[in-house]
């Protein structure tokens, strides 16, 4: 995979496949980007699992926080990493030790570790770096277009309402109702 530019089909495929997402490095503070992304993905129907050793045992947005990936008592489809690039490798190694292994390792906007990416890809895991799943979801669902963002998508088909209101657009898989 070209790590500088991911095709929309690749990103869409990931967001339409994964169901359980462990977010490593989530902050309990509601003004932090990790909290924003966690809340957004939770609202879009993903099963979100917070991972933060300093918050272990507490809840974030009603979800129980675990100290490590290994502590999560269920399979995880995607590990979303909110840690600085130099701290990514141990998280990826921890993810690779899970049974079953996750399908996707996702490093947040501004985070890139090519060595860790190569390790994950060698284990057959899809990798995304330097992207935010919230922004990518909003971009591919057209919801982000309301903010004047260049979604880099064109379509003569209308965007799909996620359901539960007028202002939530969806990618399809978790939609509460078809439009």
């Amino acid at each position: 995979m070209n790590r500088d530019g991911y095709p929309d089909s690749y990103i869409r495929g990931i967001l339409n496949t994964v169901k359980t997402i462990a977010m490593v490095g989530i902050s309990p503070k509601d003004n932090r980007p990790s909290y924003f992304a966690f809340k957004y993905l939770l609202e879009r129907g993903y099963h979100m699992v917070p991972v933060n050793p300093g918050q272990a045992g507490k809840e974030i947005l009603g979800q129980k926080v675990y100290a490590t990936l290994a502590d999560i008592p269920e399979p995880v489809d995607m590990v979303d990493i909110f840690r600085a690039s130099q701290f990514v490798m141990p998280v990826v190694q921890e993810a690779l030790a899970l049974k079953p292994k996750p399908q996707v390792i996702w490093m947040q906007l501004g985070i890139r570790n090519d060595e860790a990416a190569a390790l994950a890809e060698a284990a057959g895991i899809k990798v995304v770096m330097d992207r935010c799943p919230k922004i990518e979801y909003g971009r591919l669902s057209s919801e982000i277009s309301w903010m004047g963002i260049n979604s880099r998508t064109l379509s003569s088909k209308r965007a799909q309402n996620f359901g539960g209101g007028f202002q939530r657009m969806g990618l399809g898989i978790n939609n509460k109702r078809e439009p």
């Binding site: 924003f36 919801e143 004047g148 209308r158 007028f166 439009p179």
Partner: protein, 429 residues
């Protein structure tokens, strides 16, 4: 199309970018959402929107779905990450500078600019404590000399109004990069059809949508486009982007919104608090104009070149400043930056001076004598007595608006009719 990994061409983007069928009604043309406000889905949704945690609509001063289509359209045409529509080109400049500068800061600007911008920078911006330092686009080193530790941005026009000056964007962008400040390019006269400043190192583009993008002389509007290229957090010199914002419970916009953080900052700090929102009806008219932008800009440029060639041979004419003319001082830069054509606007020096200028604007029948450019109609003005009147005589000459100068904005009429009108206007008693 969304999943096809091909990049659409300019004509396709001009029609489709940002404008999927309306999600609720399926309306194919972009609806005019002529409403002040938008119902929240529920209380939590409202809180999420106000906290910038969700993408959506609150109030038309902050965003509107019709305006959003226009924003995405222009961002896509320029190759930027995001756009922000505002009430006018001047409003775009205020919002951009308010996001970048604190009182006491400076910015460097080309002294060959639209006269209205020169006035805004010299006078209105002073009351905000923003100091303009002028540089000469004909002497690129003057930009470097003007940089100080207080400099926060460099501002140029791609094709300058009204002189037909083309600025060496790439050379100025290298100076901006070295100084660690963003390069802002006003791309109004060129439009992205003729020139793509982001390809030459611009970081931010501003537009008066009033001109060629709208193109029909019916709506005032402005646009800010974020190139997504500038690292706002590197030195902490842009606190609107790199510091926790008390307006939004401590959010840091750059880390939250990445490569479109500048456009978001302009929206949620600038537009929200300064207030120059664009009417959705204007956005609709401008969007309709943009659908034909490539066709119009080519015709504008082709007609203008024919008129410039004709004028340059007339005995009443001392000189023609149009970068598309072979032999023009800016022709080499035009070939690099605007290879498809040099736009609609030119200035003409009349041998008869001020009186000849007054005579020409009085005698034309097809040209309209008014203070605008970028209409389907051919337009004429005598800048020394109108748009540039507030400038000193020296500033007028510097800006290419001396007493003998007439500015033309060539329209989309038959070029034979445009030339015939100028001929009778020049020769009438």
């Amino acid at each position: 199309m969304a999943d096809a990994e091909r990049i659409p061409g300019f004509n396709t983007l001009a029609i489709h970018a940002g404008a999927k069928p309306d999600p609720t009604t399926g309306a194919r043309a972009t609806p005019i959402y002529q409403t002040t406000s938008f119902v929240f889905d529920d209380v939590d949704h409202a809180a999420s929107l106000f906290g910038l945690q969700a993408f959506g609509n609150i109030y038309t001063r902050i965003g509107n779905p019709t305006n959003a289509v226009l924003e995405e359209r222009v961002a896509a045409l320029e190759g930027g990450t995001a756009g922000l529509a505002v009430a006018s080109g001047h409003a775009a400049q205020v919002v951009v500078m308010q996001t970048l500068l604190m009182p006491g800061d400076e910015f460097v600007a080309s002294k060959k600019l639209y006269g209205g911008s020169i006035n805004q920078f010299n006078h209105a911006f002073k009351s905000f404590g923003w100091q303009v330092v002028w540089a000469d686009p004909d002497d690129i080193s003057s930009f470097e000399k003007a940089i100080t530790p207080k400099t926060k941005a460099i501002f140029i026009e791609s094709i300058a109004n009204p002189g037909g000056v083309i600025t060496d964007i790439e050379a100025v962008s290298k100076i901006a990069r070295k100084a660690g400040v963003p390069l802002i390019v006003d791309n109004t006269l060129a439009t992205p059809y003729l020139c793509k400043p982001f390809n030459y190192g611009a970081d931010i583009i501003v537009h008066s949508l009033t001109k060629f993008l709208g193109g029909h002389g019916n709506s005032i509007g402005g646009m800010i486009v974020d190139g997504g290229t500038f690292n706002w957090s590197r030195e902490g010199r842009y606190p609107m982007l790199s510091e926790p914002r008390p307006e939004y419970s401590g959010i840091v916009l750059h880390e939250t919104f990445g490569n479109f953080a500048f456009a978001i900052a302009c929206r949620v700090l600038g537009l929200r608090d300064l207030g120059p929102a664009l009417s959705p009806f204007n956005a609709f008219l401008i969007l309709t104009g943009i659908e034909t932008l490539p066709l119009r800009m080519q015709r504008h440029s082709d007609n203008a070149l024919a008129v410039a060639e004709w004028l340059s041979k007339r005995p009443e004419v001392a000189w023609v400043s149009y970068a598309g003319l072979p032999g023009d001082k800016y022709n080499a830069l035009a070939k690099k930056y605007t290879p498809k054509g040099s736009g609609a606007v030119m200035t003409v020096g009349l041998k008869g001076g001020y009186d000849a200028g007054v005579k020409l604007v009085s005698n034309v029948q097809l040209f309209s004598h008014l203070a605008n450019i970028g209409d389907t109609r051919s337009l004429i003005i005598h800048p020394a007595s109108t748009t540039h009147k507030q400038l000193s005589d020296a500033q007028k000459v510097q800006a290419g608006a001396g007493p003998d100068v007439v500015r033309l904005s060539i329209g989309l009429e038959d070029k034979e009719d445009i030339i015939a009108d100028l001929e009778q206007g020049l020769t009438a008693k």
